[in-house]
């Protein structure tokens, strides 16, 4: 038991130092685990959650193709114009748009749609861009918490616990709406009410030809249709008898066909290659390596041991365990990468389910883990992939987001959102 645990801890420590690429670390560690006999290759393959991988790959392809249309830039501009270019209004409006899109598309890529246009809008209004970036980071992590496909932790939990798109929506969307409302109010008091723009600058926003943001009009109905179809199929996944991963890959394949089919023959290969290049293969292999490593420590009994320790610490009380997952998941997610933690906790939670009354009885624990792991990402600038994506764009645009500047507001605001969830979890599930 010690050696697999040591390998996992060392790998995790190396990931935290960020000196080496995380996918390289886990792939090497997974290979070592198999080579040393901690698990066989067949067991390693069995431990990989291909449903989650398919869901991730499918949604990444869909996002990559939709991005080419310019649709979401158009939406951002129209939102600003609908709010009469009021900076305070735009702060709330773009947050809402970001949160909504993040619920249905991976939140790390949602911000890629919205943030560049946000820079342009802030530049035209001659207001600081930082409040908008902060609000959009928060909104993307909040919105992504609402559904099965909004955030990778939810995909992992949903796949492992056989929770559907509808299950997530009914259980978590109300909490997300509450958290979003509270955060929007707080951000308005923090920044929104002091943002001012000259009438002439607001008039320039109103004069923007939003349709000019559409880069490929042909892709707009195709992308919208496929995304709506994806959501509908996920809602009725049970009736269809299909897993989320299959639905996502089918949708991605359809959109690829609609994208590359009408193009000239010579451009088709490039279009298809481009679509596959939109998949973040580093993240996919990171997941694969982690699944194998967690499979190794599960086989070695490490997770069983930790599960018994957790039962002893919580007295087998579902409510206490749920709140531990909520707050613990949030703090860990803020400070560390939440994906390895969630992947490790999943078999641990499944292992303690019988002692806690079975699968139905531990549902609040799953919901609490999802809330904590997703919302905790707002706690620090490194808390989630969406945060890092926005920070990267801000850096390259010459307006860096300071790590401590973000954390000074991010961490307390994140704690507020978890406090809201604490009340919600107790009220809704107990």
């Amino acid at each position: 038991m010690l050696f697999p645990a040591a390998l996992f801890v060392v790998s995790y420590g190396l990931i935290m130092t960020e000196r080496l690429n995380r996918a390289v670390i886990v792939i090497l560690a997974a290979g070592i685990a198999i080579a040393l006999g901690f698990l066989t290759q067949a067991e390693a393959i069995d431990s990989i959650d291909f449903n989650t991988l398919a869901l991730l790959i499918g949604t990444m392809i869909i996002v990559g193709i939709t991005k080419k249309s310019g649709l979401f830039g158009y939406l951002a501009i129209r939102t600003a114009q609908a709010l009469h270019a009021s900076p305070a209004g735009i702060l709330a409006g773009l947050s809402l748009v970001t949160a909504f899109i993040s619920a249905f598309l991976p939140n790390a890529t949602t911000v890629l749609f919205i943030v560049p246009v946000t820079f342009v809008i802030a530049s035209e209004l001659r207001v600081p861009v930082y409040p908008f970036l902060f609000a959009e980071i928060f909104a993307s992590n909040i919105g992504g918490t609402a559904t099965l496909i909004g955030d990778p932790p939810n995909m992992l939990i949903g796949s492992a616990a056989h929770l559907s798109f509808d299950d997530f929506l009914f259980a978590l969307a109300p909490a997300v709406v509450l958290v979003f409302a509270v955060q929007t109010l707080l951000l308005h008091f923090l920044w929104g009410r002091s943002l001012r723009a000259e009438q002439s600058d607001r008039a320039r926003i109103m004069a923007i030809r939003a349709k000019g943001a559409i880069a490929d009009a042909r892709l707009v109905p195709a992308s919208l249709g496929v995304i709506l179809g994806l959501i509908a199929a996920l809602v009725f996944a049970g009736e269809l008898g299909l897993e989320a991963g299959t639905i996502a890959l089918l949708a991605a394949g359809l959109l690829m066909l609609l994208d590359h089919g009408p193009r000239p023959r010579g451009a088709r290969t490039e279009t298809v290659t481009g679509a596959f290049m939109e998949v973040d293969w580093v993240t996919i292999f990171f997941f694969i390596g982690l699944f194998v490593m967690v499979g190794a420590i599960a086989k070695a009994g490490v997770l069983g041991y930790l599960g018994r320790a957790l039962l002893a610490a919580t007295g087998g009380d579902v409510r206490v365990t749920a709140l531990v997952m909520l707050w613990g998941g949030a703090i860990v997610s803020a400070l560390l990468d939440n994906i390895p933690v969630v992947i490790a906790l999943i078999p641990l939670i499944k292992g303690i389910a019988p002692a806690m009354g079975g699968d139905a009885a531990i549902l609040p624990i799953w919901w609490s883990l999802a809330l904590g792991a997703c919302l905790g990402g707002n706690g620090t600038l490194i808390g989630s992939a969406a945060n890092l994506t926005v920070a990267g764009i801000a850096d390259r645009s010459g307006t860096p987001i300071g790590f401590w500047r973000f954390n000074a507001a991010g961490f307390p605001l994140m704690l507020v959102s978890i406090a809201v969830c604490h009340v919600y979890v107790l009220w809704r599930f107990f």
């Binding site: 080419k68 310019g70 830039g73 158009y74 501009i77 890629l112 943030v115 560049p116 246009v117 820079f119 342009v120 530049s123 035209e124 320039r204 004069a207 923007i208 030809r209 939003a210 349709k211 000019g212 943001a213 880069a215 764009i393 390259r396 645009s397 010459g398």
Partner: protein, 157 residues
């Protein structure tokens, strides 16, 4: 054949504490693509050129990577572009200089300069090895002229 053999010696340059307005006037008056920027000791800091000037007038997010497909939605507003220029022109050029611009040494072979022309499509400053002092500039025109119509004394001419 090295870069020193075809470079324009003692090129016009601006100091890094000169203003963007001064550098812009020089570029436009002389139809330069690029102007070398030097420090107080004549050491090369980087290049400031016509593209760097124009890039100051658009949101930076629009010129980095592939984040924004276009700015067509903004429409034409010359007065706004001029207003932006006026707000920037008194800033020191060190704030806008391209410090990553390619450079060559006096003894760098011409073939390497040609490779850099093909990649970057801009003139290249020539610096003294060791001191990094600016000693010349070479353009693709200089290179092409020398190859197509070499001066007498060059093999094959």
């Amino acid at each position: 054949m090295s870069c020193a053999d075809i470079m324009t010696r003692n090129p016009r340059s601006v100091r890094e504490d000169h203003t963007i307005g001064e550098a812009a006037s020089e570029i436009i008056a002389c139809n330069y693509i690029n102007l070398p920027v030097v420090d107080g000791d004549g050491r090369l800091v980087g290049l400031f050129g016509i593209y760097d000037l124009l890039a100051l007038l658009v949101p930076r997010v629009a010129v980095i990577g592939n984040l924004l497909p276009n700015l067509r939605f903004l429409g034409d507003d010359e007065s706004e572009l001029h207003r932006k220029y006026v707000s920037l022109k008194d800033n020191p050029v060190r704030r806008a200089v391209n410090r990553e611009a390619a450079r060559v040494y006096t003894d760098t072979p011409l073939i390497e300069a040609i490779r850099l022309f093909c990649r970057n499509h801009m003139t290249i400053p020539v610096i003294e090895r060791g001191s990094d002092r600016l000693v010349g500039m070479i353009s693709y025109w200089d290179a092409a002229r020398h190859i197509v119509d070499p001066p007498s004394g060059v093999k094959g001419s």
